[in-house]
Symmetry: C2
Subunit: 322 residues, 2 copies
């Protein structure tokens, strides 16, 4: 039986904002609070502000002892070591999260990166409920991923497995900020889609609504709107994005044969514009043994709580496994 009076604290640390809240075993979010991260003031100051706010919302219904664990999603967070190391968006070189956070709230603590937390969020509360083998792809400015095999996240030897944004899809292809070329995220992400549009605008001479945007001003949502209005360049850009993603998903299926693949994040909201070509190319490029057997589905955490639910799922998952 789930005890609905038991909660975990889910914390999602982003470059700009940090969101956190108390979440029970059924995924009910009791409190959700957003504060600025102010990363330059350091991790300890942030952790102090988070726990101050949490203590201030505790009342007769929920006490400190109602909080069973803390789950945290953060860039470059290491599940094995409970550290955040060399996180470029935060400017933090090394943070011993367990030690520092524990000074403010002494509970079992589990941390991982945000894409891994999202994958557990989908498995516990979202579109992957009841599944034991699933891949979650997060499509934002970049491409993140969380891979679940046999009911647990794939962390690999050092805790940093599941970096599917950096598999090579086109040898010697587009330059990636990771230092490599041809990475999946240079094609399949909001920024990849923009690069594709500008490549197509350079290659073709046809009219397009999108000719009037600089690469800086162009947003994925504009491209989706243009495609919906029948703009050929925008439509071709989604076709190409879906092809790159579909071919890659086919390879991921050969690797871990998930029951389903879940697309999460801003770009996934483009709906059929992205899903239709992705699924078509995936099935054209997957081993016949797997053809038409793997579902590609949108996130089941599309409300605003998804980041907190992911972090909370990590905590509940950790408690169950420990």
């Amino acid at each position: 039986m789930n005890n609905q009076k038991e909660y975990v604290l889910g914390v999602d640390i982003g470059g700009t904002n940090t969101v956190f809240g108390l979440v029970n075993r059924n995924g009910h979010v009791k409190e959700e609070i957003t504060i600025t991260t102010d990363a330059q003031k350091g991790a300890e100051q942030l952790f102090s502000r988070i726990t101050d706010r949490i203590h201030s919302v505790l009342n007769n219904g929920i006490t400190t002892s109602s909080i069973k664990a803390v789950g945290m999603g953060a860039p470059n967070a290491n599940y094995f070591k409970n550290t955040i190391e060399n996180a470029p968006n935060l400017g933090w070189k090394f943070v011993d999260v367990k030690k520092i956070f524990g000074q403010y709230l002494a509970k079992p603590l589990f941390i991982t990166n945000d894409a891994n937390a999202s994958a557990l969020g989908e498995m516990h509360f979202g579109a992957a409920k009841g599944m034991k083998n699933v891949i979650v792809i997060t499509l934002g400015t970049g491409l993140g991923s969380g891979i679940i095999v046999d009911g647990d996240l794939v962390y690999g030897h050092d805790g940093f497995a599941g970096e599917l944004g950096h598999v090579c899809v086109i040898p010697n292809g587009r330059q990636c900020k990771c230092g490599l070329n041809g990475c999946l995220e240079t094609y399949v992400s909001a920024s990849g889609l923009k690069r594709t549009v500008h490549e197509l605008l350079a290659k073709n001479i046809g009219e397009s609504i999108l000719r009037h945007n600089s690469i800086e001003d162009l947003e994925a949502v504009h491209i989706a709107e243009a495609a919906e209005k029948g703009d050929a360049i925008a439509q071709e850009a989604f076709e190409f994005t879906g092809k790159m993603l579909g071919i890659s998903l086919a390879s991921f299926i050969a690797f871990s044969r998930p029951q389903a693949i879940i697309l999460f994040g801003g770009l996934a909201r483009a709906g059929q514009l992205l899903f239709e070509p992705t699924i078509r190319h995936m099935n054209n490029h997957v081993l016949p043994l797997f053809r038409d057997k793997i579902d590609v589905i949108p996130s089941g955490l599309h409300n605003g709580n998804s980041a907190v639910l992911g972090a909370a799922a990590l905590a509940w998952h950790g408690l169950e496994r420990s």
Copy 2:
């Protein structure tokens, strides 16, 4: 404590021959017997011959009760269902292995494909001893793989995960017998190497020892010998093969971040001809986070017992997990 008087029966079913033997927990092979598979006579006849031979070698030292389990590596074997289904090399449509084999030897039975069995063989008795995250690539006529994550094989949703021979390395590339194009095994395997040589012979006009072989007569070992003698075409073929493999390994690392990758099988015996370009291209194409951190090593099961040791490891592994 390992009881050295306890054994498992390891069975490797191949298209031509079937090899089996009794193996104790330390990987000591007590008996190893090779018989013809004669697949056209059916699975039951084969299983009967295997168990007859095993019963005939039991003596005062080893009795039926010394045999704790059976592990079997076979094409298209399904770990979850204990079946062999649609195995092209055997011509078997559907074999309920647990049921039929159990009539002859009633012991716990574990089956999987030969590449998965090899991976467990490496983990229990070979080059991956003590490792919990490892990828084993078998390089024969084709390319097989067994992926170990957190100490266990990745079977996926239906038992058929780990088909890395069929990830796409060159979209619209070489035709593969699976029906797809550009699969890794069309480039990286004994047959892929031969195709590369003939492509290079067609492209270049330089002299080469290999011009005198038809694609049918050419063997990987001839190409390796030619490369050792300084034949430029043969050397370029290994360079290209290593590049395709290295780029692919870089993607596999992004997926599951193994501690090591093990190359097993005939082509892996080409040694530095294959390993040097593979490792170089892998490190040039892997996320900087993982660069120079993943070992690529040859199989530790290079004696003749490797197939039986793999199947036996599956049985010991299964007993420990159950």
